[in-house]
């Protein structure tokens, strides 16, 4: 494999506390090495006057699997004016809010993202998720199977059987080649099986005689029992409704008293995702307002919690979530086309297009809330930038979100551009916030932070010797004054991107398709005959496929797996 030395760039690496100092980064055999160890054959990349960071990590996006593809299929209009033709290194690629798999890989790579997590894998459809990830080039990917409405989990937790829950979770992670324990509207999506919902953490789940709070706490305990790399990753109840911040606080409070147990350096026991959608005050759309401060007051103090933002990008997009009842609610509000898939014993999903219009005050307020969360974060290692792609906007808008976070001027310009800026300003705190995030903050929020939260800080998120050589050079000089749009332009098209030591992007164009891997977590537990009997029984009685076919994820479906081993037998 080739050697590289990236010379004289301004390096931002939170894992080593480097804040823009000039340094050389050396790459050999796919890893970062000490710059003294590089040979004279190394290819020199001149990064003078440029910014150097580790590859960025997407902690939460909907980029592969059944609902993403249903979105593509049912929105031909999303392809309009987006198609790129075949090139020497790329397949033809199209789509805006739900790009084709090829485009997904290319666009992440061009922005300097080298690892991405699919945020909601319905276990029964894991094969589909993996087939799409196989066709998503360059970036490493993992996927979170959903557990928050799973019949096994609810039955075990009703009886407080943590060990059985953990054994089942480990089995399912193995069967689906999954990465972490995801919860979406715990209990509420099962209730949706009957057209109902759970809007608070204490709403009982029909028939199963358990509450969302019990599911959440039980899965925290199972997660820490196993010592998984990531914590539970939760999309709480009551998404998207005015006044829902109290439900969010109730959810966050469930983390109290739990401490992370794992060998991966992770400190949180709960990751709360797309927090923007859960930080709403008011009780109608008329008096809708930001409660970002109330949420961040809690998060800033709770060292055992991490969050991501879910920034609204003011685009026409496609919402999609395992929160079935929410999507039904949304289609009743905006009357746009509604797709839904309920998945036996496990989960559901809904899809509705959505237009975040700068002319609508609610959309402006949502935009402000997402930014406020990041601007109020005291510890950028625990607050990560996402758009909950494609829910609050497409991931291709990250450079724009970064611009808004780094430049007060860019924010003020946007506030002025809103049709109802007075309303947006009075319902939020954004207008008076003059904090501008630094490149170091950004490196924490998009690199080192997510890597630590995911339990993969030894591989990703930094530039220490020994780590994977995921390195990005942006054509952005931190020493020189710059217009806000320069930030966006630089982060949109990286000058160089290395993935596992291979140069995959040069001057914003894909030059190599790399060596994509699928990351998954192999948690070994003690034999648990009871759980295996329960699994067998449910397959015989209630599933529509056989257990053997459910478990048969072939090698050709996960072509290049990378297992993170966890030993939970002790």
């Amino acid at each position: 494999m080739s050697e590289y030395i990236i010379k004289n760039g301004h390096v931002f690496d939170p894992t080593q506390g480097i804040k823009g100092d000039k340094a050389d980064i050396a790459i050999k055999d796919g890893k970062i090495i000490k710059d003294s160890e590089v040979s004279s054959k190394a290819k020199v990349i001149d990064a003078k006057g440029k910014t150097v960071m580790a590859g960025a990590i997407e902690i939460h996006a909907h980029i592969a699997g059944p609902k993403v593809n249903l979105g593509r299929i049912y929105r031909p209009e999303d392809k309009l004016f987006t198609y790129q033709s075949t090139t020497a290194n790329t397949r033809m690629a199209g789509g805006f809010s739900i790009p084709t798999t090829f485009k997904t890989g290319y666009e992440y790579a061009k922005m300097g993202y080298t690892t991405a997590m699919e945020a909601a894998m319905p276990p029964l459809f894991s094969r589909h998720v993996h087939e799409e990830m196989r066709d998503t080039p360059i970036i490493d990917e993992g996927a979170y199977p959903v557990f928050g409405n799973n019949w096994f989990v609810m039955e075990y937790l009703k009886n407080k059987e943590i060990e059985n829950t953990a054994a089942y979770c480990a089995w399912l992670l193995r069967a689906t080649k999954g990465f972490a324990i995801k919860l979406v509207n715990p209990g509420g999506t099962e209730a949706w099986g009957w057209g109902l919902n759970c809007l608070s953490v204490d709403d009982p789940v029909p028939y199963f005689d358990i509450t969302p709070a019990e599911i959440i706490k039980g899965l925290i305990e199972a997660n820490e029992y196993l010592g998984l790399p990531h914590s539970i990753h939760i999309h709480p109840n009551n998404l998207g409704n005015p006044g829902n911040y109290t439900t969010t606080l109730d959810t966050l409070k469930l983390s109290a008293g739990y401490k992370a147990k794992n060998k991966f350096g992770r400190e949180q026991v709960m990751h709360l995702t797309h927090t923007q959608f859960h930080s709403y005050g008011g009780d109608t759309w008329a008096n809708f307002e930001s409660k970002a401060k109330e949420i961040m007051d809690f998060v800033n103090k709770a060292k055992n919690v991490t969050i991501d933002t879910g920034n609204v990008t003011l685009d026409e997009t496609t919402t999609m979530t395992a929160d079935g009842p929410f999507e039904h609610h949304l289609t009743e509000l905006n009357h746009l086309k509604w797709a839904n898939v309920d998945v036996e014993l496990e989960t559901a999903a809904g899809i509705v297009p959505y237009i975040y219009s700068p002319s609508i005050s609610v959309c402006g307020i949502q935009w402000a809330i997402g930014l406020e969360l990041a601007l109020m974060a005291k510890d950028p290692m625990r607050c990560f930038i996402t758009t909950d792609h494609p829910n609050a906007g497409p991931f291709t808008r990250y450079p724009r979100v970064i611009k808004w976070l780094m430049s007060n001027k860019a924010r003020q310009d946007q506030i002025k551009a809103f049709k109802n800026s007075d309303k947006v300003v009075s319902a939020t705190n954004i207008a008076g916030m003059d904090r501008e995030l630094s490149l170091y903050d950004i490196a924490q929020m998009t690199r080192a932070g997510p890597a630590k939260s995911l339990g993969i800080p030894s591989m990703f998120g930094g530039l220490k010797p020994g780590m994977d050589a995921d390195v990005v050079v942006y054509d952005f000089n931190p020493d020189k004054p710059s217009a806000p749009d320069q930030i966006e332009a630089a982060f949109s098209r990286a000058a160089h991107v290395f993935k596992s030591g291979i140069e995959v992007v040069t001057n914003g164009e894909v030059v190599n398709n790399g060596h994509k891997r699928t990351l998954w977590v192999n948690a070994k537990t003690k034999e648990n005959p009871q759980v295996m009997r329960d699994v067998q029984e449910k397959f015989i009685k209630y599933y529509s496929v056989t257990q053997a076919n459910y478990e048969a994820l072939g090698h050709h479906i996960v072509p290049n797996p990378y297992a993170i081993e966890v030993d939970a037998t002790q």
């Binding site: 592969a64 299929i73 049912y74 031909p76 289609t331 036996e344 076919n549 048969a552 479906i557």
Partner: protein, 438 residues
């Protein structure tokens, strides 16, 4: 000695049963018996064992006779045909695995072809409708566990999807449906008294082609508004009764088939059926699902969807993907005589397309990749027999509810035969050379 293989997947209809047991000879060369499958599924497996099977490609001679050629010659013919064509059509895909489809799409992209599957002649209107209005649906296990109201609209599973009712929709005892058939009310809407209709609690014998009116009348009934005495041949009172039956259930589903997609009003019927489903969700929980025919037509739509963004009738001739059914759909392309090479795989347009289209196929360079001899292989210049997918080679397929299932290989193909994927991979590699890309 024999061995029994379990969890075998049936590669015939969209029901994609995965509980078959197949007895094979110890050397894995002969298939002896098939258990759990329906008659048509069993037939599909046994058909692979016929002695007079064609095992090598055949090229049609000027005098109309067939000459056996090698796979390499077949690869050459196919690659040259695609390289030289301005607007080749690559049609079919519904009875092969996703792996083969994926390689086929690489070829199509290189060749600048139109790619289409059998949705073009069955559930295409369903796709158009769901692009208009969405689709509230669910997996078949949800039906088994929860559904107490089952509507079959314009479909006849007793014949077309024989195990559908026993595995998923009518007879099984699920978690919340412990009494099986007794837990459910079955409504069939069909102008004919089909074997499915005979089993129904309520049979609405709709006038041929009047499905749209009846669907709309259901919605009027849901709102308790005025109806004429008779709509689409059904008395209003009976419509109200059926609508109430749906409303009063806990979880309902409409399964629909070609009786509504391919009759007058086409996608408008489906639009209205989906609107009805959405409407019913104001009262209870309701879903709707197309009864997909070929076992992997769903998979073809999925793979096209994630690779190009459109599920059928995809035109790659301009270097980027376009989708415009009526313009980029196979029948229209052939009927207008725009296609200058025809590549058919895993389907039989020769039997299902209008005669004018078939005549056009006969005029142009053409390849048919199919284990069987079919009307299409008969009109094509080159017939490439291949291994039976799901019998002699595994691979991924998507059930009618989009659930992916990995099919299993149960016996070896006859010596020297290629699979779809192997043949296509050779064509792809040769085409790369011809295009100067390798």
């Amino acid at each position: 000695m024999t061995k029994t293989m379990t969890d075998v997947v049936c590669p015939f209809c969209g029901t994609l049963c995965d509980d078959l047991e197949v007895v094979v000879s110890d050397d894995g060369k002969q298939l002896k018996e098939v258990y759990n499958a329906c008659v048509i599924g069993t037939e599909k497996f046994l058909h692979s064992q016929t002695k007079d099977r064609i095992t090598r490609p055949r090229l049609k001679q000027p005098d109309g006779s067939w000459k056996e050629v090698s796979y390499d010659e077949a690869v050459e013919y196919t690659a040259q045909m695609l390289a030289n064509a301005k607007k080749p059509l690559m049609y079919g895909w519904s009875s092969t695995n996703c792996e083969a489809q994926s390689v086929g799409h690489e070829i199509a992209e290189m060749a600048g072809a139109c790619v289409d599957n059998t949705a073009a002649v069955c559930h295409g209107p369903t796709v158009i409708a769901l692009q208009d209005i969405g689709l509230p649906s669910c997996t078949l296990g949800e039906i088994k566990n929860r559904a107490d109201r089952i509507l079959f609209w314009g479909c006849n599973p007793a014949h077309a999807h024989p195990r559908h009712m026993s595995r998923y929709s009518i007879y099984p005892r699920g978690f919340f449906t412990g009494k099986g058939q007794k837990s459910r009310k079955m409504i069939v809407v069909d102008p004919r008294v089909t074997d499915t209709a005979k089993l129904a609690d309520v049979h609405l014998q709709v006038e041929q082609g009047r499905d749209y009116e009846l669907l709309n009348a259901f919605r009027v009934a849901l709102n308790n508004e005025w109806l004429p005495d008779v709509v689409a041949g059904i008395p209003a009172a009976k419509i109200r009764e059926a609508a109430d039956l749906c409303k009063n259930g806990r979880f309902g589903i409409i399964f629909f088939g070609m009786g509504v997609t391919q009759t007058l009003s086409k996608n408008h019927n489906i639009d209205e059926a989906i609107a009805l489903t959405k409407h019913l969700n104001e009262f209870t929980k309701f879903s709707i699902m197309p009864m997909r025919g070929h076992y992997n037509v769903t998979g073809s739509g999925e793979v096209l969807g994630w690779q190009f963004g459109f599920p059928y009738s995809v035109d790659l001739t301009r270097g980027f993907a376009r989708y415009n059914p009526g313009d980029t759909s196979s029948i229209d392309l052939l009927a207008r005589g725009e296609v200058d090479a025809m590549f058919t795989i895993a389907s039989d347009p020769g039997a299902h397309f209008p005669i004018s289209c078939v005549k056009h196929i006969a005029k142009i360079p053409s390849v048919c990749i199919d284990p069987h001899q079919t009307p299409t292989s008969g009109v094509s210049k080159l017939h490439v027999p291949v291994a039976f997918v799901g019998v002699e080679v595994g691979g991924n397929a998507y059930r009618m509810d989009n659930v992916p299932i990995d099919m299993r290989k149960v016996v070896d193909p006859p010596a020297g035969m290629l699979t779809d994927e192997e043949f296509l991979t050779k064509v792809r590699d040769r085409l790369k050379q011809l295009k100067g890309k390798a």
